[in-house]
Symmetry: C2
Subunit: 452 residues, 2 copies
Amino acid sequence: MTPSHLSATEAAAQIRQGTLSSVDLTKSCLARIAETDALIGAWAYLDAGQALAQAAALDQRRADGHPLGPLHGVPVGIKDIFDTADMPTALGSTAHPDRRPDTDSAAVEKLRAAGAVILGKTVTTPLAFVSPSKTRNPHNPDYSPGGSSSGSAAGVAAGHMPLAIGSQTGGSVNRPASFCGVYGFKPTRGQISRRGALQTSETLDCVGGFARTLEDVALLNDALTGYDPADSASHDRPRPQTLAGCRAEPPSTPKIAFIDFPPFNMTEPMRDVIEEVAGTLGPHLTRLPTPDCFADFLAGQHTIHTCEIARNLHGDPAIDPEHTDDLVRDLLAQGRAVTEDAYAAARANVAKAESFFAAFFQDYDALLCPASCGEAPLLSENTTGDAVCQKIFTFAGVPTLALPMYISKNNLPLGVQLVGAAEGDDRLFRTAQWLMTHWSQAGMGPIPKGTA
Amino acid sequence: MTPSHLSATEAAAQIRQGTLSSVDLTKSCLARIAETDALIGAWAYLDAGQALAQAAALDQRRADGHPLGPLHGVPVGIKDIFDTADMPTALGSTAHPDRRPDTDSAAVEKLRAAGAVILGKTVTTPLAFVSPSKTRNPHNPDYSPGGSSSGSAAGVAAGHMPLAIGSQTGGSVNRPASFCGVYGFKPTRGQISRRGALQTSETLDCVGGFARTLEDVALLNDALTGYDPADSASHDRPRPQTLAGCRAEPPSTPKIAFIDFPPFNMTEPMRDVIEEVAGTLGPHLTRLPTPDCFADFLAGQHTIHTCEIARNLHGDPAIDPEHTDDLVRDLLAQGRAVTEDAYAAARANVAKAESFFAAFFQDYDALLCPASCGEAPLLSENTTGDAVCQKIFTFAGVPTLALPMYISKNNLPLGVQLVGAAEGDDRLFRTAQWLMTHWSQAGMGPIPKGTA
């Protein structure tokens, strides 16, 4: 198999064994990028020489008998809102073309400490917000890859690299994962440090990862998590081991809940996929009515996101008219109009959401819902799609996993989302592995419906 | 077995399985302390209620199904130079009785993130330097436990807790380990962050651990290591997995070197132990002449230690006459007398030492030497013993492991030291495990020579 197509888990194992070099893997990724990126546009910054120099140094470290990290020699794409000491970090904005911080962000530090090749910076929507980026969906270049982690999702889907990191404040990890047909994981709030990443909302921002296999996205997550006193949301308790979660047997058959929340606004193909998954689950799925609080949580996410991003970007030239668009300016105006009382009420609802889901997951291993309303939107629609399927869970800080379940008749991916208990990230992976096994045993999987 | 006597590895496994609670383990440790500490004096600060509250919270987290860290529920003693947000940190000095920093040191953060109970603060010699502390050797209270990590070494030896952390600038981890008959490990420079620990020498200070089994000291080390940009010595490369090292088979029979360096000044009992180990190793041991550079490295350690500690403690009331003694004041005066040229020459020798050992360990898996000149000194000698057996290796930043090899006719422990290649900490543990297996198969072990 072409090295760029290997999973990260397999590539890392081969590098460890000495049957593949990091240089060959990185060259293969660079070749795949050279071949496809003119169409896809996943990269904000990429210097092939710099990536190969890192790979060569890692190969040398292995040859010298030094310890190898879990990602030794594996290229990872970095959303261009995470600071890198050796590459520019332009935040997706035309206002900051020369921005070049001195130090790595915590996530990049963790990746280097795990032995990864920092391949380059992937395209983000401007300031990780709602305006589309230049990136196209690798399944069909007329469609959006989603946002704001556009380049990370599209690059992983296109085989540019096995792993990439992104961030989510509304739905910027799990939605592009659904649109691009890859796995996306946003861990429990506070598991991964946000130090050195663009702060848009101190309450909601979180770091997440993309990969083409479930184990890979867990491998990446385990390398990223850890306590960091520099991040106000970080906590000093043990981290769930998500790769071990993938490999664990559920102690009893998982209990999965489904809530048909009308604002998820599922298209017919998405409803079909959800119903097929529900059919596969049979008696292990419980359909529940929509809890009253969901509407409050959804509204609370909007209040906090718009209010905090307006405050955080206040005075930043990136929001001047020549560097931004009406979509963003309208939302910032909404954020500035949020009263202190409305903000305090939304903050109080965060604690309510945490308690609600803590109680909810006493009874269920996971909540099933769509990872996007439907297929990716056309680029001509000038949107990266609706984050409604993620907002409640980002608000509550619970872990969410997008699973690439299906390719539609239009050759566009459709993902479902599994949501788990806070700090039960490992259990969520265990449940997801069980679900994917059931799904493939039932003869389903991410194949074009029309060609089945 | 009384829970306080369990290894950390076994206790953590039992807590994980639910056959032991952290509260019962902590109570058992507290009972052992209550029984013996009036004689030993290992504790600078201990609040039983606070320790039990941590243990109860950890038991509750397990009951709630939260993820468990590798040290979940296991009590760890903290040398009283490491800041703790919830306990005083008096640095062993009468000048700072009420010192109470707001935040945890990096090492304590890591332990909490691994699920440990922060049991309390162990006695350190004043400012982690040369003056004796109140702590006595648990094997015979007329003798010193060594220093500066006196309470950590003595407490682990006495069964107060399975694990403790200390620090080494000269020989403050491996020497007390030898005197108290426990394992002591100082990893490669830069593996564990020193943020929030008393800085005596930015070049030489390092964090290390104590335990009663080889696996335990590796388990502790793995929980402590990690990159931290706040520590100038910390590096962002992967960390060796030392517990995995303990459990790995050497790919070929280890090659061990021995250098009979006269300044190690071995007593007859220590020479006997080293010769018995050499006999056990047979053809796997190579005796080498003393390299010329060893004398320079030894002198360089003294120059840097005294110069940097004098600079770091400048203006600290702890070095005023009423809070210190002649031993310390004399060394600080020596440090202040170091010229810029002498300091620069010593710093240049650090790089030379790093290169020397990098080349040396191309040919050998480990260097064998004494972990102390001999048995612990009598308290009446007013010394914590000579750090000469460690200084060269602390200077070079290579990992060193003290192995409790023998109990002398006087019922005092004698340890040997294995030294390994920088960043080859896992290989060093693999070699040590192989040596200890050989040693016990040869019928040897830490039993009184007279009673064999």
